[in-house]
Symmetry: C2
Amino acid sequence: MMKRVIVGLLLFALANLALAQSDPLPSWNEDANKKAIEDFVADVTDEASADFVRPEERIATFDNDGTLWAEQPIYVEFQFAIDRIKTLAPQHPDWKTAEPFSLLLAGNMKAFLAGGEKSVVPILTASHSGMTPENFEIIVKDWLATARHPTKKRLYTQLVYQPMLELLAYLRSNGFKTFIVSGGGVEFMRAFAEHSYGVPPEQVIGSEGKMKFEMRDGQPLLLKLPDVQFVDDKAGKPIGIQTNIGRRPIAAFGNSDGDLQMLQWTCAGSGRRFCLYVHHDDAVREWAYDRHSLVGRLDLGLDEASVKHWTVVSMKDDWKTIFPPE
Amino acid sequence: MMKRVIVGLLLFALANLALAQSDPLPSWNEDANKKAIEDFVADVTDEASADFVRPEERIATFDNDGTLWAEQPIYVEFQFAIDRIKTLAPQHPDWKTAEPFSLLLAGNMKAFLAGGEKSVVPILTASHSGMTPENFEIIVKDWLATARHPTKKRLYTQLVYQPMLELLAYLRSNGFKTFIVSGGGVEFMRAFAEHSYGVPPEQVIGSEGKMKFEMRDGQPLLLKLPDVQFVDDKAGKPIGIQTNIGRRPIAAFGNSDGDLQMLQWTCAGSGRRFCLYVHHDDAVREWAYDRHSLVGRLDLGLDEASVKHWTVVSMKDDWKTIFPPE
């Protein structure tokens, strides 16, 4: 009798171990939101299901800032641009007296940020152009290798969301092609997307600068120009998807009003669809912000998610862990 | 003795049969150009080779018109546009008197074509905008299902090059990711690229029109606008590659001066590279044209291919067959 109980307990333990090992989303709590993801994937991958989708059409698009990695207190790419301006300042003595550079270099962040677009655009332009894409990639990688978040004190590439990494891998293991569709600069994101997310450069869609092709000493080169070619945000997201992918996603993941049109576009398609918002409601482990945040505002999207029954993930309640272990 | 000879002959025949069956490029004659392709692929896929390239970086880009399908006497997409204008004419009575539409509708092709860009752009614009991308795809597919080449009398999708279809499949079976990088409209090409070439929409890069996102009766839709967003030709090709793929190809395939910058860009990269021009020199089975052709001119490219030892494929000598069997 005792022996049979022990054997039973052992089998039960082993079964649970196997289950735990085979759970592709271990950082997600066992609740309705996790089940909604699993049900969707089971449904579209089951050939016997009316909702079956052939692998070629299993397109899933992910916003980056606030959806795959942290975006507070300011977008990582903006912090990169600020640091880059400081690095370049000795070569640009004129910046000492020319706004917005002068405000930034004097550490007058309040006046600098108050400038809004008038402050942001020149900083982004000066830090993102005047070099080849290859050189830009090296500059970004070098910065990411050492720059640390002001309060979390970790490398920015360690501030990716562990549950989302699992979700990306889970979708890919089910035949999905995962894309990043983000307002960030496409070449900035490509510098870490393959390593951090397993998303190759050709599956990263973002805002684009103009480029110039020229021959120098018989060698062809590309040069990043200070002009904007395409802004991949808000209504730009479905346009970026159509232009770059040419197929409507069946699943889309975002965290802000900048993703609303992508989610609308995705879930308005025929057949089974899945739209998900990551809701930043964890003031202890990350940050709590939504309707009134300057960075990653989620206001209209929260209302529409409610009306349309999109999945809204609570970082506080749905995620066992936020960031990968140190 | 006789028995041994027969067995030997049988074995020889079987070995040849096996060889023939296993040849992934059966429409290519056994010569130096076929060998150059095979050597390149063997080299970059052999982990023991100094030229090994990991699969993620095995990017191959193909021009479309004149490289994957026929482009004479005029580009297929231009023929589509002309036919579309004729179809739409009853809804546009003003076209009867407005050039270039009037010239086209009156059948005055000489005067129409003499207009050059002034004739081409309004025709392309009127035929490619004012609808959703989904509707445009249907329009193109319907046209391709019935329109026939004026002299070959076959459907345009049957005027793809059999040896190039084999080459695309051969590269993919060796871990390459094949892209189309062509001056043609990206959404025109996507209407047949997956079916005809096995290239999914997200791996088709082409010229782009602007689009608009809007909500109509609560439904999101995209609308194709009559403005050009990007021209994927000449210097635009390396730019399109960098913007859309974010990685320099290790192999590029073209047939005209419009592909020259793509080939320069590809073969200027470090490590093993492969650049190939398809030379239209078969007046009997296809067309013979190069330095003086208005469509698909190959002049500067022919000189540079010679200097840089790029592979120049003779359709006449290298290809056993041009088009797939009827």
